[in-house]
């Protein structure tokens, strides 16, 4: 028996639904996350498309104001808590972190399974508001008080869902920190660790330390709604600004929970497709930690117009600008990694290059919002909406899809159609810019966010943006269709189709249950040290 199983890959060792949903194999858990995340992502996309359709013309197009408010809230809740926060760590971190460290699983496999179950329960709770209670919350994903305390929509369930999802995030973070400390292959020091592992390490600390704050804050809303404890609602002695502080103390660092893993992905893609070592390994590794650290002290930039003291505004503005420095360092090092490479232009690289471009627009528009004078004008306008979609979707989203195209042959042992993937990428990229760039413009013109209806002068950019959403969806469906087709009819690939020296490419595709069929060899002189002389 034991000899027979060694040839089987992790898909083949066991079959049936229960062998998946109760699996403690990190690879299967990663895929469970992938399938559930993609489902919720498509729900979120659908809601987004409906919103854009409503905004095609001023006045009512397809839905009432109240429905629109619930749709944008659910879109935000799904995209933030169900998709983008777990995305890269839960899917690719789970699947590849242990393999890239040269080990057979994470430190606590059962906890890992539990975190997926918690994620599923939390997600069902969030979506249950569609069916139960007085409809999904209409507060925006920020749940700002006192509105969230007063409205009769099902805020309680949405807030409880976010609370439950927080535990999933905390457990994944904890698991990764311990895994990185304890389970690295012999000979792999911290400074010889892949940069993806570094970025997950920085992310995990934020997940572990910041998430409890949002948990408690959201519980305070529930306490207020049910027992009338005067915490946030001024009519019973509370303070609405206190809520904003607590909320952003988590939710700004959460931006880095979403962004840092994407940086890790880019740091993997560029060396592989340039066939050379990464430029500035140390700078990239430590800038992740610097971003994670400074990111804790900038939350006030979400509150520049809340009546905060002048000193407060100045301090938070300076701190915000400081985060730009390590981020810029990363971008420069990535671009320099292309220098004198031997560049193989493949779909994953296209996503990486698009990431650098779109994330730069996102980051640079963030400078406009970090500066006091301009933020006063642009705060809570569509400029902010455009900015964070460039960062979150253009950044993390593109890195996620780049990673999916990159590791696809490793996970399933098959290759999708490269030409179709390239075409889908181009449509997706164009659609993205047509969708989100007009938001920056209409924000500068002064259109506030969360607007069901708008003044006639904002019509044209809104119309263009809605057209963009159709292009983007076309590209997205083509991309996903091509991947699904690859799952069924893709050509079989060997261990290492991209010719990478990272450890995951030394094992068969798909990998065996124990990850490696023979002891992996660490590349001499560092994880990206391609033999080029």
């Amino acid at each position: 028996m034991t000899t027979a199983t060694t040839d089987l890959n992790f898909f083949q060792v066991k079959r049936g639904l229960f062998s998946w949903i109760f699996s403690i194999d990190h690879k299967r858990i990663g895929l469970l996350y992938l399938y559930s995340l993609m489902t919720f992502f498509l729900v979120g996309v659908t809601l987004g498309v409906l919103m854009r359709l409503e905004l095609l013309n001023p006045g009512k197009d397809i839905m009432e104001a109240q429905t629109y408010n619930q749709v944008f809230t659910l879109h935000g809740v799904i995209m933030i808590f169900l998709f983008i926060i777990p995305s890269i760590p839960a899917v690719f971190g789970n699947f590849f972190l242990p393999i890239m460290l040269g080990t057979d699983d994470v430190s606590f496999p059962r906890l890992n399974l539990l975190s997926w179950w918690i994620y599923i329960i939390g997600s069902i709770m969030a979506l249950s508001t569609l069916v139960f209670g007085d409809g999904p919350a209409d507060t925006g994903w920020t749940f700002y008080v006192p509105f969230s305390v007063n409205t009769t929509t099902n805020v309680t369930m949405s807030v409880l869902a976010a609370f439950v999802l927080g535990f999933s995030s905390i457990l994944t973070g904890l698991n990764f920190i311990v895994t990185i400390h304890r389970l690295r292959a012999p000979g792999m020091s911290f400074m010889k660790m892949p940069l993806f592992a570094w970025s997950l390490y920085a992310t995990s600390w934020i997940q572990l330390l910041a998430t409890p704050i949002i948990g408690i804050t959201l519980m305070m809303i529930v306490a207020e709604r049910f027992f009338g404890v005067g915490l946030f609602d001024p009519s019973i002695g509370g303070d609405p600004i206190l809520y904003q502080h607590l909320f952003w103390i988590y939710s700004h660092p959460a931006v880095y929970i979403m962004a840092l893993p994407a940086f890790g992905i880019i740091s993997e893609l560029l060396p592989t497709f340039s066939q050379r070592t990464i430029f500035g390994y140390t700078a990239i590794a430590f800038s992740s930690l610097a971003i994670a650290f400074v990111g804790y002290f900038v939350w006030g930039h979400h509150m520049f117009t809340s009546g905060m003291s002048g000193t407060g505004r100045i301090v938070f503005s300076i701190m915000t600008f400081l985060v730009a420095i390590p981020t810029a360092i990363k971008v420069f090092n990535w671009v320099a990694t292309l220098y004198k490479g031997s560049i193989n232009v493949q779909p994953p690289l296209l996503y990486a290059l698009a990431f650098i471009f779109l994330f730069s627009i996102g980051g640079l528009s963030g400078l406009v919002l970090g500066a006091l004078a301009t933020d006063i004008h642009l705060h809570d306008t569509y400029f902010v909406v455009g900015h964070f979609h460039y960062v979150m979707f253009g950044g993390t989203g593109f890195a996620f899809f780049g990673a999916l195209h990159y590791w696809f042959p490793k996970i399933w042992g098959k290759m999708y159609n490269i030409t179709v993937a390239n075409i889908a990428f181009v449509i997706f990229f164009i659609g993205f810019n047509v969708l989100y760039f007009p938001m920056l413009v209409v924000g500068l013109m002064g259109m506030p966010r969360r607007y069901y209806d708008y003044l006639p002068e904002f019509h044209i950019p809104n119309m263009i943006s809605t057209f963009g959403s159709w292009i983007l969806v076309t590209g997205l469906l083509l991309m996903l269709g091509n991947l699904v087709a690859g799952l069924f009819n893709g050509k079989k690939t060997g261990r290492n189709p991209w010719n990478s020296i990272s450890l995951e490419w030394q094992t068969p595709s798909p990998p065996p249950l124990a990850n490696f069929d023979k002891l992996p060899e660490l590349p001499e002189g560092g994880p990206y040290n391609y033999k080029n002389d």
């Binding site: 409205t151 001024p234 609405p240 809340s306 002048g310 360092i329 490479g341 471009f357 400078l367 013109m445």
Partner: protein
């Protein structure tokens, strides 16, 4: 972007141009270099890559330059913002009330208006009061915005330097009709302003109940002529029997003093058939019992 119309516009726009200029420089630079490398070092042209671990001088350069630039950008942002919190002593004070989903303005002489009229080149300080939930007072043309926070004092000030009519928008999400919470500021010369002051009478012969309804933006959702907006119309409502839903059960009630008081203080307790729950907040701490009596008195006149 629209042309500025206040003394802040210049500082805000200047910092916007500086930051956008620096940003465009980096964005174009990064993109061009990236595309050049991809073409120049394509594997067909360059089959053998060279390993370059890094370059200390470069790392220092691209740490120091962004640091200097962000300090510069911060500085311009700060300078453009600084005057916004320093209210001149000669500023005229007006109180702005924000509530779902209406702004109203109270002038020093006690007059209350829906839109603001101010003289040109005159500093105006707005004291921002929120009556229910968060709102935000935003005048894009003046480049100013401050949140209206219930239970907290906030303010903004401006000095308009161009005549015209400018939009006021609510920028903080405040519930169903957030995007309809609009007003305007008309900037006129001093003579026209003085004329407006004397022409528009302070006291009206309006029914006090109607004044309260207007002040609390009730009429945004409840019509006086029998038409259906978001809530039931006030026309002929008093003394009528009405089917309502209470805790999921339908029952018939008489619209009397008690019912109206309850509808204002606990709006979601009984829902008139054909209308949605949860769209109105409680006005328990906003409208006093005497005011409710005035409202009822007024409703009786709406036959």
């Amino acid at each position: 972007m629209n042309t500025g119309a206040s003394t802040f516009s210049q500082g805000v726009d200047l910092s916007l141009y500086i930051i956008t200029g620096i940003s465009l420089f980096f964005l174009i630079g990064i993109t061009v270099v990236m595309i050049y490398f991809v073409i120049r070092y394509n594997k067909k042209r360059n089959p053998k890559a060279t390993n370059i671990e890094g370059n200390f001088t470069l790392e220092v350069v691209w740490t120091v330059i962004p640091t200097l630039l962000v300090i510069l950008m911060f500085y311009y942002g700060w300078m453009g913002y600084k005057p916004m919190r320093q209210v001149p002593d000669n500023a005229m004070e007006i109180t702005v009330y924000g509530q779902m989903w209406k702004f109203s303005f109270e002038y020093p002489d006690g007059r209350i208006t829906d839109t603001l009229v101010v003289p040109i080149n005159q500093p105006v300080k707005l004291n921002l009061v929120a009556r229910d939930v968060l709102h935000s007072f935003y005048v894009p043309a003046f480049r100013v915005k401050e949140d209206m926070v219930p239970g907290k004092d906030n303010f903004l000030w401006f000095e308009a330097n161009r005549e015209g009519r400018y939009d006021v928008l609510c920028a903080e999400y405040c519930g169903m009709l957030h995007s309809f919470m609009l007003s305007s500021i008309t900037v006129v010369n001093q003579n026209a302003y003085d004329e407006w002051l004397t022409a528009a009478p302070i006291v009206t012969d309006e029914h006090p109940g109607l004044a309260i309804l207007k002040q609390n933006a009730c009429l945004t959702c409840h019509s006086q002529d029998g038409s259906k907006i978001i809530g039931p119309s006030f026309k002929g409502v008093y003394g009528r029997t009405q089917l309502v839903e209470t805790n999921g059960e339908t029952r018939e009630i008489l619209v009397d003093d008690e019912y109206i008081t309850r509808s204002i203080y606990e709006p979601n307790a009984d829902i008139v058939q054909g209308y949605m729950r949860g769209l109105m907040i409680s006005y328990e701490n906003i409208i006093s019992e005497e005011q409710v009596a005035d409202i009822i008195d007024y409703m009786k006149t709406l036959k």
